[in-house]
């Protein structure tokens, strides 16, 4: 009998006030009993709309049935047959717009907590190490290079390695993981989990070369001369946008990229690390996506007294995951909706002293379908702050496209690919944020997966 409870089994969490001052994981995860109970909420409806909502088509009803029966390892095998990073996806996917958004239980009441169960299954597997040792697949003798070790690159590399390819990942930073390590904070995605996923790739035989900025130390063309038969570019969208308003170069204005990298990758919050970061008292974060939530919540954890999110539309238009908005509110982050910055103000030493904002109202829907914000005349006001973090989006880094002849990009700087993730250059595939502009971890993984299949077909065809 399905569990007909209208609401999701609640997830244990650290208390909002407590966690707002530490970097430990916010959500504590289901117990086995909770996972079983929640899995039983699945009605096993005929069409399985949840599966079509998943960019990597995880067989959700099957793994939920396995969890309901208490066979967690079987559930893990089901998930990982199409999703190589379940512990990550269970934590950071915007499930409400994907699998859970399509769940029929969501029509009346709350959808099945698919993400929470996925997370439980992955964590259970990691803790119990029940798997039989991963065996290295037999080599097929073909070499493929993957540029970037974020979700797209890791997925592509993992899939190709499983098919027997000799894969090398080139990472520009000193540590692999891309946005999973420099962007998403520890309290939302513990770095030990990312490291385990990366370790399982190296166990599969994937080579990892850090400190390699492709486009500088080696060009894409040179990779082919090193014997790679195909290249996958998963270099992400790492270039921060600024608003181009007065005062943006004052001391205390950060791009979210810089602020988060100092904290997450460079561990500025840990006294054992040398990385400096500003410990601000009052912080304004500009933007309404997950990155803005992450930056605001990090600023709070560094000890700020007051952290505001400044977003020019209303709450309904906020692109961040619902859970992140909810968590941020619980942690005392102030949301200033329908507000837009006009300038950053500084003191005589060039340090940030405030941010001048204007109130907005919503007009007609724009091309994105969202109602576009319009300034309310004469509604300017100054918010006193000593730090401003710009989290208004990122674009792909131009380094690779500007150093690779024949690699086509659109006017937003995104690499152009066909449905097989093939770029305008033979043997060069791309996917993830480098192609779409800033999007989600799971979409990048889906692209990495498609590209791996295309690369396999391409190399098989050629030889």
């Amino acid at each position: 009998m399905p569990n007909m409870q209208m609401n999701k089994t609640p997830m244990p969490e650290q208390d909002g006030k407590v966690r707002a001052r530490n970097f430990k994981e916010v959500a504590l995860g289901y117990t086995a009993d909770m996972a079983v109970e929640e899995a039983k909420r699945c009605l096993h409806c005929k069409n399985s709309p949840c599966v079509s909502g998943c960019p990597v088509n995880v067989n959700i009803p099957t793994f939920l049935a396995q969890v309901a029966e208490g066979d967690f390892e079987a559930a893990y095998q089901t998930i990982t047959s199409t999703n190589s990073l379940p512990a990550v996806c269970g934590r950071v996917c915007p499930q409400e717009n994907q699998c859970e958004g399509k769940c029929v239980r969501g029509i009346k009441g709350e959808s099945v907590g698919i993400g929470r169960i996925e997370r439980f299954v992955a964590d259970y597997h990691m803790q119990n190490e029940t798997e039989t040792k991963i065996s290295r697949p037999e080599s097929n003798g073909h070499k493929v290079a993957v540029v970037g070790s974020g979700p797209a690159g890791l997925t592509c590399a993992g899939d190709l390695a499983k098919m027997g390819y000799d894969v090398t990942i080139y990472e520009a930073f000193h540590k692999a993981g891309g946005v999973l390590v420099y962007g998403i904070p520890e309290f939302r995605l513990p770095k030990a989990i990312v490291q385990k996923e990366i370790d399982s790739l190296t166990t599969l035989g994937v080579h990892l070369e850090t400190d390699m900025v492709i486009g500088r130390v080696l060009s894409i063309d040179e990779l082919f001369t090193l014997g790679y038969e195909a290249v996958f570019i998963g270099s992400g969208a790492g270039l921060p946008r600024f608003m181009n308003i007065p005062g943006e170069n004052l001391l205390g204005v950060y791009s979210a990229n810089e602020f988060l990298t100092r904290i997450n990758l460079m561990k500025a919050y840990d006294a054992n690390y040398d990385t400096p970061v500003q410990y601000a008292k009052k912080v304004a974060v500009v933007g309404g996506g997950n990155v803005a939530m992450d930056a605001a919540r990090c600023a709070m954890r560094l000890g700020a007294e007051e952290v505001s999110i400044i977003y020019r539309r209303s709450e309904a238009e906020m692109p961040a995951r619902l859970e992140e908005i909810h968590h941020a509110k619980e942690e005392g982050i102030i949301f200033r909706f329908l507000t837009n910055p006009k300038s950053v103000l500084g003191d005589e030493n060039g340090k940030v002293s405030g941010i001048e904002c204007v109130e907005m109202e919503l007009g007609e829907p724009d091309e994105s379908g969202r109602r576009s914000p319009i300034e309310k005349e004469g509604s300017e006001f100054v918010l006193p702050v000593d730090s401003v973090i710009m989290a208004i989006g990122t674009s792909p880094n131009p380094l690779i496209r500007s150093t690779t002849e024949g690699l086509e990009a659109n006017r937003r700087g995104c690499l152009v690919v066909n449905e097989d993730m093939l770029t305008s250059k033979e043997g060069v595939y791309a996917g993830g944020d480098a192609v779409t502009g800033a999007a989600t971890v799971i979409l990048a993984m889906g692209a990495g997966k498609t590209a791996a299949a295309s690369i396999d077909a391409y190399i098989k065809n050629k030889s």
């Binding site: 000193h174 130390v217 170069n249 690390y273 990385t275």
Partner: protein, 283 residues
């Protein structure tokens, strides 16, 4: 891991290191920089490449012990390894159609000005080099600079070596004597580059300066290295590090470079990182 194959103290504060990094050496060009990280808890710090030897796979860095990370690096010895050494980063220097150039180095900046002078000299350009230091004790690379200069001038603030005064005093007298330069290349402390640029603007001599601002990744990702050039925001790591000295907002750059100075100073003076990581008191 990257091995230190040679280490030499150029003076009490400045260290020369040859790092074995064949992939970086293979691509390095004058004007580009690297980022090093000594160990797992270290910062990522940019340094302009002083020299390279493609055959030996060696990249030379010359640095002053100014912050916690350069102190940490200076404690390493020949044969030791450092964790990370990334590069070459940034846009290489590009000097075209020049016949006569004044190359100006200030302090440890001479370590970068010298290879520029050498490259120009080897390309048949007439090089006048002006090197400035606080005093005699910290003069570095004097013979090397002399060798690649058609005229060489040494200046110290206290007159203990060469002539007394600043590099700008020397440059000004040369310009007043009627020396005509196609280009001035100035590399050193930001205030020095600022005053050289102010002077050359009066005389209408094109001037290139080399920036070394605070950054994290060195690939355009953090935007910490923002520099205002001609009213526009540039990222020194990808758009630079070379910029037109007449267009750089030096005062902003000086402020930005001092952003973490208080944390840094306390970290060095007390040797206690915990203290340095605490929020600013009484601010």
């Amino acid at each position: 891991m990257f091995q230190i194959v040679k280490k030499k103290d150029l003076n009490a504060e400045v260290v020369w290191m040859d790092i074995l990094a064949p992939a970086v050496a293979k691509k390095a060009k004058a004007g580009q920089f690297i980022i090093f990280r000594v160990d797992e808890t270290g910062e990522r710090v940019p340094l302009t490449i002083a020299d390279y030897d493609r055959d030996k796979g060696i990249v030379t860095i010359i640095f002053q012990k100014v912050g916690a990370s350069t102190q940490k690096l200076a404690q390493k010895n020949e044969g030791d390894f450092i964790l990370d050494f990334v590069g070459p980063l940034g846009t290489p220097s590009h000097f075209e159609n020049v016949k006569k150039v004044a190359v100006i180095g200030g302090g440890v900046g001479c370590a970068i000005a010298y290879p520029q002078a050498k490259a120009l000299h080897n390309a048949g350009v007439c090089v006048h080099m002006i090197a400035g230091f606080r005093n005699k004790e910290i003069v570095i690379l004097k013979e090397e600079m002399e060798q690649v200069s058609d005229r060489f001038f040494l200046a110290t603030d206290d007159g203990s070596a060469g002539q007394k005064g600043f590099v700008t005093d020397v440059l000004k007298s040369l310009l007043e004597q009627g020396e005509q330069y196609d280009l001035v290349v100035a590399i050193g402390p930001v205030p020095m580059m600022k005053f050289v640029s102010l002077l050359t603007k009066e005389y209408n001599v094109p001037t290139v300066v080399s920036m070394n601002p605070i950054m994290v990744d060195g690939t355009g990702m953090c935007g910490g290295c923002r520099v205002t050039v001609d009213g526009k925001v540039k990222f020194a790591c990808v758009d630079g590090p070379d910029f037109d000295g007449h267009k750089v907002d030096f005062d902003e750059l000086i402020r930005r470079n001092n952003f973490y100075r208080e944390q840094e100073t306390r970290a060095r003076e007390t040797g206690c990182r915990l203290l340095a990581m605490q929020p600013e008191k009484g601010e």
